[in-house]
């Protein structure tokens, strides 16, 4: 069974601060995805990283896939209240079509 450990579980910061969320595993993933979920809604895909060492940027969000494709990070620069939500990482493994999710990080950005 592939496991993804996501940290921290909770993050409460002030507007303008930077933050990083980590997603770690002992397993290799063929790709890793980050989702954002708002209350009462389903998760929505933010980005997919596929290649070891890959870095993708989405406005103030920077996503990185580890060289060994076992870990990933999400960095938010100058966080805003609109960034508040649950962030989930998910890894696609050897089993075709299956995703393993981390436990999630609840981010609260205070004005």
């Amino acid at each position: 069974t592939q496991l993804l450990e996501q940290s921290p579980q909770f993050l409460s910061i002030q507007e303008g601060e930077n933050l990083t969320v980590y997603c770690n595993s002992s397993s290799v993933f063929s790709s890793l995805q980050w989702y954002r979920q708002e209350p009462g809604e389903g998760p929505v895909l933010l980005v997919t990283v596929v290649t070891g060492g890959e870095v993708k940027k989405l406005k103030r969000l920077t996503f990185q896939f580890g060289d060994a494709r076992k870990d990933s990070s999400l960095h938010i620069t100058a966080a805003q209240p609109g960034d508040t939500g649950l962030y989930l990482c998910a890894g696609a493994g050897a089993s075709y079509g299956k995703l393993t999710f981390g436990q999630g990080t609840i981010l609260t950005v205070h004005p």
């Binding site: 009462g40 998760p43 989930l88 696609a92 079509g97 299956k98 995703l99 999710f101």
Partner: protein
């Protein structure tokens, strides 16, 4: 937005009763999934389907069964609901091709077993 509809959106049921949740997609995606979401556990896979009448178990499949008789519909049945099955249930779809398995989620069904 991907065309995924879950029904019902909310349900309260009694312990021991069977419950069926429905997921309907209009995207013609091959893969469909049922997850449950509980605090501190992220999303855990219950069952998934890789085609009509082709299903497999996920990590928390005990007490659940699924059926897929048409590409667009994936049903999740709690055979005899228990309080531990109180949760938010999400259906998801994906193309499941290659190394990209991006999932598109429905809005969820909040199930309470009393």
């Amino acid at each position: 937005d991907a065309g995924i509809t879950q029904s019902p959106r909310h349900k309260v049921t009694e312990t021991g009763t069977p419950v069926t949740l429905r997921c309907h997609q209009t995207e013609n995606h091959r893969y469909m999934y049922w997850y449950r979401q509980d605090p501190g556990h992220g999303l855990r896979l219950i069952h998934y389907s890789y085609g009509v009448k082709d299903t497999d178990k996920g990590e928390v499949s005990d007490g659940y069964s699924v059926s897929r008789s048409k590409t667009e519909d994936f049903l999740l049945t709690l055979e005899s609901a228990t309080s531990s099955q109180t949760s938010v249930y999400f259906c998801a779809i994906s193309l499941g091709r290659g190394s990209n398995t991006e999932a598109f989620f429905g809005q969820g069904t909040r199930l309470t077993v009393v």
